[in-house]
């Protein structure tokens, strides 16, 4: 078992220890589920035609984004599923959908199962703070970190937006 001090060292100075240890199944998508905020709304993909709003399958490989809907009450499961695409061992895309949202992809998906909010926060925050990663993926991770809405995340936001 690795000592806590060594882990702390790795954490502060090493490149994404948790992510590196977790995304060890090659390139492709990695997913995990976590209990989300029940008032968050439903994150999925929708077809909008006039007043009609219909859920549709989210294609992970497509360019389109995600809508968080306040009106799709039946679609809310209270759980968020995060998808992180790994390329060359590094996170390249971060997306998140309601656990009920149908998702498709041509790529492989490694299912990390259900994790606690703290575990999910850890992985996302690691991406946010990885300065060698593209800013886009860091910002995606930060956005979804906030949507999951843990107390620790809001404490982090408070520090991020208070310091200058």
């Amino acid at each position: 078992m690795v000592s806590l001090s060594l882990l702390t060292t790795l954490l502060l100075f090493g490149p994404m220890p948790v992510i590196a240890a977790t995304f060890d199944n090659g390139d492709g998508w990695y997913k995990w589920s976590v209990e989300g905020r029940v008032d968050m709304g439903s994150s999925c993909c929708y077809q909008l035609r006039g007043d009609s709003v219909t859920r549709k399958t989210c294609n992970l490989d497509a360019e389109h984004g995600t809508i968080i809907s306040d009106s799709d009450c039946n679609g809310q499961s209270g759980k968020l599923t995060f998808y992180v695409r790994s390329e060359g061992g590094e996170p390249a895309l971060v997306r998140a959908f309601d656990a009920n949202c149908p998702v498709s992809t041509e790529e492989s998906v490694t299912d990390l199962g259900s994790v606690t909010l703290a575990e999910s926060d850890s992985m996302l925050l690691e991406i946010v703070q990885a300065r060698d990663l593209d800013m886009d993926v860091r910002e995606e991770a930060l956005f979804w970190l906030v949507q999951a809405g843990s107390d620790a995340t809001f404490d982090y936001l408070d520090r991020l937006l208070s310091n200058r």
Partner: protein, 300 residues
């Protein structure tokens, strides 16, 4: 898996507790993250987001970040957030005050909107401009009408009616004519709002020749299928050169070269034909080439 879970949890607490987002001072990178963090708050519970937004606005952050914070505040839809936004609209200075006012227009909260009138009355030129923009954003034509109807300042009236024109507020503009009388800025507003009917009526009213000229020219701005024949008719019935010139200017603005060609063919004296031909050339009309061909063939 259990040990791994414990490991990750411990690391999570350590990471969040020890992470210091701005260790090396403010950088573009941190600014970008701050902007994303702020924008992500738009879907956060207001009771969690408001204290953070407050800190951003009270802190020494960039104007751009503070303006984004004001936008987030405008979207929260709680009495506390709208009250805070109103405070900034009243008490902040410079661009932030103007932005807070515009954000009230974007949010559209009725209580906050109702307070804009007082802010307008007590504000300087920039504040008043921001209030008018907020009314435009919120599509509150009646509020702008009240400003126009109750001012004796020509500049203020002009700004307000231009805004009504941009809002397409034809009913309010027509009402202003009976209350405030006719003016060049009101006629321009009719043109901006596309009120061809009012302009057509004014174009045919020779009781005020100066305003009649403005109305005729403004018909060209409005455009539309009926405007060309109206302007041709005004030219034909013109009793003075000013009206003729205004009608031609209107045809030029509307791009109705067919009408100018029609008048050219009807014209009986050389001076008039020359003037009309000049307009056709300025309009880059293909008809000019037909006329040149006819001239060579001796038909003209």
């Amino acid at each position: 898996m259990k040990n791994f879970a414990k490991l990750v949890t411990a690391l999570a607490f350590l990471l969040v507790a020890t992470s210091s987002p701005a260790q090396t001072g403010d950088t573009d990178e941190n600014e970008s993250l701050r902007m994303t963090a702020l924008e992500a708050l738009i879907s956060a519970p207001p009771e969690r987001a408001l204290p953070i937004v407050d800190k951003v606005l009270a802190g020494s952050h960039s104007t751009e970040l503070k303006e984004r914070a004001l936008f987030i505040l405008s979207q929260m839809e709680t009495p506390e957030s709208q009250s805070r936004l109103l405070e900034y609209a009243r008490d902040a200075e410079g661009e932030l005050q103007s932005e807070a006012i515009r954000m009230i227009g974007i949010g559209g909260d009725s209580g906050a909107m109702a307070s804009l009138g007082d802010i307008y009355q007590g504000g300087d030129e920039d504040v008043r401009e921001a209030v008018l923009e907020a009314y435009l954003i919120a599509d509150d034509a009646n509020a702008v009408f009240e400003i126009a109807a109750n001012t004796s300042d020509e500049g203020e009236f002009s700004s307000a009616v231009q805004m009504l024109g941009a809002m397409g507020a034809n009913a309010q503009l027509r009402d202003l004519r009976s209350r405030a009388g006719l003016s060049e800025s009101l006629i321009e507003a009719y043109a901006i709002s596309g009120d061809a009917d009012s302009l057509r009526e004014l174009a045919q009213d020779d009781s005020n020749p100066e305003m009649q000229v403005h109305a005729i020219e403004s018909l060209g701005i409005v455009g539309g299928a009926d405007v060309g024949p109206t302007l041709v008719g005004l030219y034909r019935g013109a009793t003075n050169e000013d009206i003729k010139e205004a009608a031609l200017d209107g045809l030029l603005i509307a791009g109705h070269d067919a009408g100018v060609l029609e008048l050219y063919r009807e014209a009986s004296n050389a001076d008039e034909k020359r003037d009309l031909l000049e307009y056709l050339v300025i309009m880059d009309s293909d008809a000019v080439w037909d006329l040149i061909d006819s001239a060579f063939e001796g038909a003209e």
